[in-house]
Symmetry: C2
Subunit: 263 residues, 2 copies
């Protein structure tokens, strides 16, 4: 059964909250730069403070790549410091033809051994297939994203439905192993309720709460609709909650705040 680890983590920790570990060196508390790898230290302290209050951590690859080679080492070290019973998502939004996609799948599923990746569906089935074929891993495909540009293509009318609805139908059709989920931005509240009701078999990863302005109340209502497990991600509003030596306490408080509303 897929999403098994995720379901277990949600149950054990009593939380649908995922924290996005998207570190930006300029926003990390200054005292951490005494350590050899300030970003790793930052992540480690957040994990220590919140590991019992989340179902998952999501690492956006952009924030590690931009640090060069060392960033990839920090990415791997961070994954290694997440407890085994917490789900780990590499938010990399990859897409490529089958031969190249296989190498991306190897990167995240074999080399870094994360539980799930995010992918971009524009290139169609065979660009997702190498990821889907890992039956013990999960994928979350972009469907409706939280940014303004979502309207440029995702909202287009495609024969009486929106493009993102066609993407959902295809994901549903391709979900033979039950390991496919959808990324639906919290800023798209109306679509969220409809998607959850129509495709309860698709696990949902919902970003866009906090800094991006999505309504947490709408998201909380969606979480209560039965179906495959749901992950609600918050990044900046939690990880940059404090800037002094006690920042991890503030991070923990913010995580509790979100958990209280979501539960």
């Amino acid at each position: 059964m897929s999403f098994k680890k995720l379901s277990a983590s949600i149950e054990k920790h009593g939380a649908n909250l995922c924290i996005g570990l998207d570190p930006v060196p300029e926003k990390i508390p200054e005292f951490l730069f005494e350590y050899e790898d300030a970003v790793l230290e930052f992540n480690t302290r957040i994990i220590e403070a919140t590991k019992d209050a989340v179902c998952a951590y999501k690492l956006n690859a952009a924030f590690y790549e931009s640090l060069g080679e060392k960033g990839w080492s920090t990415f791997g070290e961070t994954v290694a410091r997440i407890p085994d019973d917490v789900y780990v998502i590499a938010d990399c939004k990859r897409s490529d033809i089958g031969n190249s996609a296989r190498h991306y799948a190897q990167t995240f599923f074999d080399y870094f051994d994360v539980d799930a990746v995010t992918v971009n569906p524009y290139m169609g089935f065979d660009s997702l297939e190498p990821f889907i074929n890992y039956s013990n891993k999960d994928i979350f495909s972009l469907v409706v994203t939280s940014n303004p540009g979502a309207r440029d293509f995702q909202m287009c009318d495609v024969g009486g439905k929106k493009l993102f609805e066609l993407v959902l139908e295809k994901l549903h059709e391709w979900n033979k192993l039950g390991n496919i989920g959808a990324v639906v931005g919290a800023t798209k509240g109306e679509e969220l309720v409809g998607i959850r009701s129509r495709f309860p078999d698709l696990s949902l990863l919902i970003p866009g709460i906090g800094t991006q302005g999505g309504s947490i109340e709408t998201v909380a209502a969606v979480v209560r609709i039965p179906g495959a497990p749901i992950i609600v991600n918050v990044s900046r509003d939690i990880i940059f909650a404090g800037f002094d030596e006690k920042f991890a306490d503030k991070v923990k408080e913010k995580a509790s705040y979100y958990n209280a509303i979501l539960s």
Copy 2:
């Protein structure tokens, strides 16, 4: 003026050919493993053998990421070994919301200092904007890809046109700085001619020749239609042309073969 370096490189080397440096350790000549970094040595010898016969090199990030941290070091070292007058593309097909996309742009344009990246348009304008804003760099957005899955979404009817045509119209509209190009697979011969004729202002990156089976004759005809510079990429069929100590000679021969047809 954008695509300036590309135009100069095409003119200087008399070639529209781009070689895809997509190394796979299992396919690299065995004797190269005597070197500390066999992949780098492989790339270096290909560059040495073909640098006067190409307008560009394209490095698909998937093949470096899957080698872990060391792969990123090899990526950077390879870029550094490409002569200054040859154009360099990071084929990374990235896409993310603005804040994250900025970090991807930093990775490839600042850290690795390549001339262009490939991007995925599904998330719309603001996901491409951080890349476009580098006025001295170029982007190639996916439009019609060379894989079978291209039909799943790219070919959908969106109000009387295909989705990929809408993407082209938007790219054309967003091309204020003249630094936007389109990726159109060589396996889509019919679309290629139409796209080139209708949007001559968009530079084209055409992959899919060789192993993927696109018609080189059709591509050669498209290259002759006037407009923004065109790059024709071949990866596997050139870089894996030989497996012994003289593999670089075979690589050079294969490059000449393609150049003769394309010119």
